[in-house]
Amino acid sequence: MAEGTHVPIRKYLVVWLWLFILSALAYFIDVVHVPAPWKAILLVVVALMKAGMIMAVFMHLGYERLSLIYAVVAPLLFLVVMTIAFLPEGTAILGSHSIVAP
């Protein structure tokens, strides 16, 4: 059996560089005050890009068998469902907290 999953070192370095660039970009988006809906969209896109690169290359998921990729990614879609289900519900009870201070 072949040991582990071999990823060329160059690929690691390229992803590493991109992670620095995208982190700086996310910080920049926050500092320059991008208008409301665009800020959220840009931040989520940048976060998902970083997550995708870490999983695909650093965690070698892109080099694994398709069955393992599905087994890992499919349960995570549940988080998307939870976000869609609960965040609008939050606006529905807006202002009903008894303690909001200071």
Binding site: Y27, L76, P102
Partner: protein, 217 residues
């Protein structure tokens, strides 16, 4: 025992050992843990999002986590530095894994040690951050910056993540020792380094989302 029966047993044995994921059980188990842990962190983040949306107002993290340098307030500087440190540690971890493939013991231990040092620096920054907020009166039930829930989620999210980093440092220390004293050579496999790497990169992955959802929004 008859030979036919023996060969049947061997066949059965081979069949049950063949992983549908074509990966070792050690690696598959780490992935199982990571998926479960991701759902736990996901639940915490969704709960945080729900709370924040339902309150309507929130503390301004850019201001709360600013550093003052030369009398000027630089927003979120500490968090930017922490992100930089953690991304760096992910890179050194990847290099440790790459060197483990080549069975280069010295460099594997070197990069594992660098990764641990960066991890400890990250936790050090977090200790500074917690101390700063606590001395200014932040508690899980009250804080001077916004709704009380801000303090509760701050401690829960960063505390949970910080514990992961600290556990990761301990994990890497054990792995580095096993590389250095030749345990992995005797075992004939360096896969443990790759599996420890999965955990470490996952902790970085979680930070991407905490950084985005808690600090930047």
């Amino acid at each position: 025992m008859a030979t036919a029966e023996l060969s049947l047993q061997h066949e059965f044995h081979d069949y049950t050992l063949r992983s549908p994921f074509r990966a070792s059980w050690q690696k598959v188990m780490m992935w199982v843990f990571i998926v479960v842990d991701a759902l736990t962190f996901g639940s915490l983040l969704v709960s945080y999002g729900f709370t924040r949306v339902s309150i309507g107002t929130w503390a301004n993290p850019a201001h709360v986590f600013a550093l003052h340098i030369g009398g000027k307030e630089i927003p979120l500087l500490l968090i930017a530095i922490m992100t930089f440190i953690l991304v760096s540690s992910s890179g050194t971890m990847a290099l440790a894994v790459a060197n483990a493939y080549e069975r280069n013991k010295k460099r594997t231990v070197l990069f594992l040690t660098l990764t641990m040092l960066l991890g400890l620096t990250f936790v050090g920054c977090q200790v500074y951050e917690w101390t700063h907020l606590i001395t200014h009166g932040t508690r899980p039930w009250w804080n001077p910056y916004g709704p009380p829930q801000f303090g509760a989620y701050f401690f829960t999210l960063t505390g949970f993540h910080g514990m992961h980093v600290l556990s990761g440092v301990l994990y890497l220390a054990i792995v580095a020792r096993m590389v250095a004293n030749g345990t992995l050579d005797r075992r004939g496999s360096y896969q443990l380094v790759e599996i420890a790497g999965l955990y470490w990169h996952f902790v970085d992955l979680i930070w991407v989302f905490i950084f985005t959802m808690f600090y930047l929004f």
